[in-house]
Structure formats: structure tokens, C-alpha cells
């Protein structure tokens, strides 16, 4: 899988963390298998996959172009995963986020969290998505029949992220 950049957590961390920002599509089954420790420590894996919607804010979407800040984006996501590990007993966490030009129905982002129990996996997965949406430097530009526009940050995303604080 071609990866623009990939970060692994430093050796010594208790949880295994992985971040990849890439142009290429990803295989969620393969990513989920890679999350497993191999020693059956996990009792739960919660995952989230985000897709390009065909309509957004009442306008038709044909393509979505994602821009990022190389370096800062990866470190910001890794920081979010580390924060999740401080709050929940996470065994492993992985985030894959695509950049470049995507079409309707394409996968954009994948988050996978493994833990001993489902409650921790669900909560950490949602936390990582909420933080990613408001902290990680990505920007979306939509193109449709009516032209192109940069998306504005949404108040409800900010509220959802701040609810964790």
C-alpha cells in the first residue's frame, strides 16, 4: 500500500499505535487484522469508516479533494491516539486517512481501536474521530455541478469534541 507517510508509536509505549496519511485506498479487513496482537488479549475491536457522501449541505458532490499539512497531520493524529490511551485501556489504535482527489462513495478515513472490553473500544474510537475532525490539519474542498467550495468547520463537530474535555 502506497503511503505518503506513516508513523508508529515509539517503542516502549504500552499500546501499539499506527497512523497513515495516504492517497491510496485501504482494505478495512486487512487493517483490522493488523490491529490484533496475536496473543488474543483483545476482547473487542471497534472501527469507524468515513465515506464521501453524494450530497452535503443540500448540494450535490462529485469529487472531494483533501489537503493536509505533512508532518503536523500525522503527529496530531498520533497525539490524539495517545490521549485516547491515557483515558481508556487501549491495546492498539490505528488511523488511516486519505488525501488527494476522491469521488462519491470513496473511503476517506478509518479508525480502529482494540481493547479488552467493548465499552472502552467504542468510547476510544468515537473520541479519536471527534478529536481528529477538529484537531488534525486536513481541509476538504468539494466539487459539484455548481462549482467548488472549501468546507467550513462545523459548530456541532467542535461541540462534540469539547464534550470530551
Amino acid at each position: 500500500m502506497k503511503s505518503l507517510s506513516s508513523r508508529q508509536s515509539p517503542v516502549g509505549d504500552s499500546a501499539s499505535l499506527h497512523v497513515s496519511v495516504q492517497e491510496s485506498d485501504f482494505d478495512t479487513a486487512q487493517l483490522q487484522r493488523a490491529l490484533l496482537s496475536g496473543d488474543s488479549a483483545e476482547g473487542a475491536v471497534a472501527t469507524f469508516t468515513g465515506y464521501v457522501r453524494k450530497r452535503n449541505l443540500d448540494l450535490a458532490v462529485e469529487t472531494l479533494t483533501l489537503e493536509h499539512y505533512p508532518g503536523m497531520t500525522e503527529s496530531s493524529i498520533l497525539d490524539t491516539l495517545s490521549k485516547a490511551c491515557e483515558r481508556w485501556p487501549v491495546l492498539a489504535g490505528s488511523v488511516v486517512h486519505r488525501v488527494g482527489r476522491l469521488s462519491c462513495g470513496d473511503q476517506i478515513v478509518w479508525v480502529g481501536i482494540s481493547a479488552a472490553h467493548r465499552g472502552d473500544a467504542f468510547a476510544a474510537c468515537e473520541f479519536v474521530m471527534d478529536y481528529l475532525k477538529t484537531r488534525a490539519p486536513f481541509w476538504k474542498k468539494e466539487e459539484g455541478p455548481n462549482g467548488s467550495r472549501w468546507l467550513d468547520a462545523r459548530e456541532e463537530d467542535t461541540l462534540k469534541a469539547s464534550a470530551w474535555e
Binding site: 468515513g50 483533501l66 489537503e67 493536509h68 499539512y69 508532518g71 503536523m72 497531520t73 503527529s75 486517512h97 476517506i108 478515513v109 474521530m129 481528529l132 475532525k133 477538529t134 484537531r135 488534525a136 490539519p137 486536513f138 481541509w139 476538504k140 474542498k141 472549501w150 468546507l151 467550513d152 468547520a153 462545523r154 463537530d157
Partner: protein, 80 residues
């Protein structure tokens, strides 16, 4: 020399992705950039403009900048 980078809508509005500046503080950098014209002054005065220094978001009013520092300006993020 400080490296200045712009992203997304801000980059498009300014028509500039990157430039170098000889400044020793963030406030001086902003003042220098705003002197480039009305467009620069308006775009860099947006209340929701985000600034990052060496790839960490900076919320304060001013700070010293060192040789080789990287300053970024970008709009609120919309990933995920």
C-alpha cells in the same frame, strides 16, 4: 530566515503556498505580511485563522521566532 506556509482556502486566496521571511517574532511576521497589500491584510486578519509554529498550534498573541522556524497559517480544519 523563517519559513512561512499557507494551506487550503488561505493558500488559494493569497495565491501563495510558501515564502521566506527575515523576522524575529510572530507579530513582526504578521505585520510584514499584512503590508503586502489589502488582500493579505484582510485574509490574515480573519478571526478564525489558525497559526501553527513548528507544526504546533499557537494561540497566543506573539512569540519569538528563531532561524529555521516554520510558521503556518490555515483555516479551521475539516477532515475526517
Amino acid at each position: 530566515m523563517v519559513k512561512v506556509v499557507f494551506f487550503a482556502r488561505i493558500r488559494e486566496q493569497l495565491g501563495c503556498a510558501e515564502l521566506d521571511a527575515e523576522v524575529s517574532s510572530l507579530a513582526t511576521l504578521l505585520a510584514t505580511l499584512k503590508q503586502r497589500g489589502e488582500l493579505w491584510s484582510r485574509v490574515l486578519s480573519e478571526p478564525n485563522l489558525i497559526c501553527a509554529v513548528n507544526q504546533v498550534v499557537f494561540d497566543g498573541d506573539d512569540r519569538q521566532l528563531q532561524e529555521g522556524d516554520e510558521v503556518a497559517f490555515f483555516p479551521p480544519v475539516t477532515g475526517g
